[in-house]
Amino acid sequence: MSAAIITKVDERIAFYEVPAGKKAIVAVTGLVLIGYVVAHMLGNLQIFLGRERINAYAELLHSSGPLLWAARLVLLVAVGLHIVFTVQLWLAKRRARPVRYLKKVDVPSAYAARTMILSGPLIAAFVIFHVLHLTTGQAGLPFEPLNVYDNVVRGFRIWYVSLAYMVAVSLVGVHVWHGLWSMLHTLGLDDERYRPTLERISHAVGLLTALGYLSIPVAVLTGLIGGGVN
C-alpha cells in the first residue's frame, strides 16, 4: 500500500478528521457529561432528605426556565458529538485491522477500556427511557408532574424498573472508570509520575458515581425511603 507523504503543514488533514482531533472532541464532550452525571447524582441524593426537599429542588430547576433549556441544549450537543465521533472512531478501528488474529491476548488492558462502545450505547438507550419515565412521564409508569419523590418511589418499586436503572448506572460507572482518566490522557494531561493517581481518581469517581445512583433504588426496594407513598 502506498500513501502520499505529507510534506507541508497545509497538506495536513483537518482536526476533526484525524483520530487525535476526534478523540479530543470525545474527551471534552465526555467531560461535560461526567460533570452532568456527577451533579445529577448529588442532586438526586437529596431524596434522602425527604419529599419536600427533593420536590423543592425539582421546582427550583423547573423555574429556572431559559437556564434549564440552555443546560439541556449543551448536554444534547455534547451527547450528539460524543456519539457521532465515538461511532466514527469505532468504525475506523474496525477497518484498521481487516484480518483478525486467531489468538489474541488482551494484555493488561482494562475491561472498561475495551467495552466503551458497549457501555456507551446502552447508557444512551437507558437515558431515553429515563427521560420518558421521570421527565416527561410518557413511559407508562406512575407519574405526577413535579412530584419527583412519589414518581421515583413508585417507579423503583417495580422490580424491572429498578433493575434496568441499576444496570444502567453501573455501566455509567464502568464508562467513567476508564473515561475520566482516558479523557485526561487524550487532552495530554498525563505523565508517568502521576498516572497511577489519575487512574485511581478516575476509578474512584466511576465507583462513587455508580454507588451514589445505586443507593436510591436500593433504598426504595428496602423501604428505607418512600414509607408514606402508596
Binding site: 505529507i6 484498521a96 486467531l102 488482551d106 477500556a113 490522557h185
Partner: protein, 259 residues
C-alpha cells in the same frame, strides 16, 4: 525440549493463508526463538518444503526488524523483549505455540510472518526528523539540555520501530510509535523549531496510512520491547492540540521559510 508450533503460512498477499502444525524436537533451552525457527527451517528445506519466512536482522534486540505474535502477544510472553532476544528457556517442554504475523491494514502481509512496515518509514518521512545544516559535528554540550528532558528523550529514543505496539493495539493504532518519535524530538532543544509542524504532519500521515485511533487501552506499553511509556502519547496529544490551535502561526512560519 519439544515444542509444537502452529504457524501462519501464506505465500503472498493474494493467496489465502492457513495455520500449519509443526513439531520441533531437540530444542535447546538456550536457543533464541528465531534460532529455534532456523532449526525448523533447515528441516523443512531438507524435506523440500518452503522455509517459514520471518523478518530479522541484528538478532540482538536493537534493529527492530523481528517481530510476530506468539500466542496472541507481540514478541511473545516476556516483557521488554524482542522475539530475537526471547529464549526457549521461557517455555516448557511440550508447549504449544501459535505464531501469527502482525495484523494491521497499514502493515500488509508479504509472506508467512513477514509484513510490510513501510508505513512507519512514511511517518518518519512526514516529520520525524530534525532539519540541520550538514557540517562538522557540533561540540558536545554546546547546547545545554536539562537532565530530565535528556532522560525522557533518551527513553523515547529507545523505540526501534518494530511495530509491536500497532500489532497488539486493539485498534491497530500507531500512537505509541508516533508518541515516541514526537517526544524524543520534541523534548530536545534541537527539535523545537519544527515541533508543532512535526506533530501536525505525522499525525495526519498516520490517519492517511489507515492506522486506528488510540483508546488509551495500554496494550502497546505492555508489549513494547523497549518499554516506551504511555505518557509519550499524552505528550503527542498535547502537542497536537496546541499545534492545531496555533496552526495559523505555524502555517505563516512555514510560508516564510522559517523552521
Amino acid at each position: 525440549m519439544r515444542i509444537i508450533l502452529h504457524v501462519w503460512r501464506q505465500k503472498n498477499a493474494s493467496e489465502p493463508g492457513r495455520m500449519v502444525r509443526y513439531e520441533v524436537n531437540n530444542v535447546n533451552p538456550h536457543m533464541s526463538f528465531l534460532e529455534m525457527l532456523d532449526v525448523l527451517n533447515e528441516e523443512l528445506v531438507q524435506q523440500g518444503e518452503d522455509p517459514i519466512a520471518f523478518d530479522h536482522d541484528c538478532r540482538e534486540g536493537i534493529c527492530g526488524m523481528c517481530g510476530f505474535m506468539i500466542n496472541g502477544r507481540a514478541h511473545g510472553p516476556e516483557p521488554g523483549t524482542t522475539v530475537c532476544q526471547l529464549h526457549m528457556r521461557h517455555f516448557r517442554d511440550g508447549d504449544e505455540l501459535w505464531l501469527e504475523p502482525f495484523r494491521a491494514r497499514a502493515f500488509p502481509l508479504i509472506r508467512d510472518l513477514v509484513v510490510n512496515r513501510s508505513a512507519f518509514d512514511r511517518l518518519i518521512a512526514a516529520g520525524g526528523y530534525i532539519s540541520v545544516n550538514a557540517g562538522s559535528a557540533p561540540d558536545a554540550n554546546a547546547i545545554p539540555v536539562p537532565k530530565q528532558a535528556a532522560e525522557k528523550a533518551m527513553d523515547a529514543a529507545a523505540c526501534i520501530g518494530c511495530g509491536a505496539c500497532v500489532a497488539q493495539c486493539p485498534n491497530a493504532s500507531a500512537a505509541l510509535f508516533l508518541g515516541a518519535k514526537i517526544s524524543h524530538l520534541g523534548l530536545l532543544p534541537q527539535g523545537q523549531p519544527e515541533r508543532y509542524q512535526r506533530v501536525l504532519k505525522m499525525v495526519s500521515q498516520a490517519a492517511l496510512e489507515g492506522f486506528g485511533h488510540c483508546t488509551n487501552a495500554g496494550e502497546c506499553e505492555a508489549v513494547c520491547p523497549k518499554r516506551i511509556k504511555l505518557e509519550v502519547i499524552a505528550r503527542m496529544n498535547r502537542d497536537y492540540l496546541v499545534a492545531a490551535v496555533k496552526h495559523l502561526g505555524v502555517k505563516e512560519a512555514v510560508e516564510a521559510g522559517v523552521g
